[in-house]
Symmetry: C2
Subunit: 314 residues, 2 copies
């Protein structure tokens, strides 16, 4: 039995170290990976994937922690992926946060892992669905994917999750800002966190107004609810769970869930195919052919289209 | 004289409509684009590119507006690109904000344009440097690129700008959050905006502490300053301008400016080469070959690596 097979079998039995090791292989785009993915068994049940996103400081981790507590109370096995956008300059997250959410660290039915990509093109967009696939094979009931940020990171989380929860703080700026960031379009559920603070009522009202503007009111359409929460005290978590369960039911009854899983598979394949092409092309900053073309582009001697074409069709 | 040539000549003469039209071609990845980029003249002078980024609500637009006013006062021609992360669901930004910063709208030496990508892979990362290239050919002295968000959007802005300014609000969460978002690594200058509000002193102190931890103290290293600003009243804009000019001087004297321009050209080529490959492969959600593979992956019949490999090496 080779390494990949041993790791996959151990992960399948719920061995946390093996699961963590497989996720490290994914982060590193390890050569073993294609074998690992081929060996992962088709799961008897698919975990439900909930994405949590929002700007820094809105309370994603405390909300995640409250959700873990809730589902653990129901006997579910829960995995958390904390996705840090990595810096291309340091090749990884500046601070490891694997020690976060320590209250759950000793619970063997809870698996918590932060993820970073090592700066390769394709990065976390390619790594996250593969990590979810590993957690699926390991038999988790729920996977929570927590990602910081506004921008591409959310688009990626929305592509990977069944239900996407977007968190806002009470004073995070008006709804126009939220809309500009594209957050409303990816949100299945909106949460105004720290709802005991000043500005929360305004934030709730403004988000409801924006949703009502964006809604097409088509029959059977999902209308994202706005939930008020005070996650640090676990207030409002019951209501959030209820909203998630309701969305889950809608995904199943409307057929949208199946459509999303198909679209997700297509997205995962496309992202991975591009990453393979990138690797095949050797498109790295230290590639001498690319460096020579870059010098000509920087000096104005060659335009960027001609240079890119020279790479693609040498 | 064909369309591309006419547009390029008009843009070169500073015609705002021609410049806007060329940027639309870029957003749409128009087939004319390779011709346009080939025809763009090598500029006599290169504009200085300043990136402004930060979470929604920290005051990027008001800061941008204050910077425009400052540089216009010095007689410089200033262009602004407001980069909205586009939604993959609607194919564009939800709200156009081309009417923003109206106080400068009637000044012909100021060009303001919001940008969205139409959802193609390669998106804004490929489009932004091309738009800067158009503004360069049109003879602007300064280009301000304003982008919302935390995540990939900043990494792209740092790849496109000479000086990257990261804005924080007074109560945006602690330095650990900022570090996690990778913001510190891309910042050449940090601004605590709305510095008249509660929490500003703490934010400044925390950011300074984080920078000092991240610094290697190598001789000649750039140490990002933390500037306090109240952009809505134009307070602190003088200090921000001073920091930008100082960084500009350091880029020139240290040789880092030349290295960055080379790295940027390499990055632009790589992004564009990937976008070309994506188009050549027909990696779109409605591609029947991709859809068939996605159905097999979703049902567990095929793993995502094997599917991606089938796309890359049919």
């Amino acid at each position: 039995m080779d390494v990949a097979e041993r790791l996959v079998n151990a992960a399948r039995d719920g061995d946390a170290r093996a699961i963590a090791r497989l996720i490290s292989l994914i982060e590193d785009a390890d050569p073993l990976l294609p074998d690992v993915m081929r060996l992962l068994p088709s799961p008897a049940k698919t975990p439900y994937v909930v994405g949590l996103t929002g700007a820094p400081g809105v309370g994603k981790s405390t909300t995640t922690s409250a959700l873990i507590a809730h589902w653990r109370g129901k006997g579910a096995r829960v995995a958390v992926l904390a996705v840090d956008p990595s810096s291309p300059f340091t090749g990884g997250a500046l601070l490891g946060d694997r020690v976060r959410m320590q209250s759950h660290a000793t619970d063997s039915a809870v698996f918590i892992r932060s993820m970073a990509s090592r700066g390769q093109l394709g990065g976390l967009a390619a790594a996250t669905p593969q990590a979810i696939r590993v957690l699926e094979a390991a038999g988790f009931d729920l996977v929570l994917v927590e990602t910081v940020g506004v921008g591409q990171a959310e688009v990626d989380i929305a592509a990977a999750a069944d239900t996407t929860v977007v968190l806002f703080g009470p004073g995070m700026g008006d709804g126009v800002q939220a809309a500009k960031a594209g957050l409303l379009e990816i949100a299945d559920i909106l949460v105004v966190n720290k709802a005991d603070r000043e500005g929360a009522d305004d934030a709730v009202r403004e988000l409801r107004r924006m949703i009502s503007m964006a809604s097409t009111r088509a029959p059977g359409e999902w209308r994202p609810p706005v939930v008020r929460a005070v996650a640090v005290a676990e207030g409002g978590v019951g209501e959030l769970v209820e909203a998630i369960e309701k969305h889950r039911g809608w995904l199943a009854s409307s057929g949208e869930g199946g459509r999303r899983r198909l679209a997700r598979a297509a997205h995962d394949i496309a992202v991975l195919a591009l990453a393979m092409l990138t690797r095949d092309l050797g498109l790295r900053a230290d590639d001498p052919r690319l460096a020579a073309l870059a010098a000509r582009v920087a000096s104005g001697d060659l335009d960027v289209y001609a240079a890119a074409r020279a790479i693609v069709s040498p």
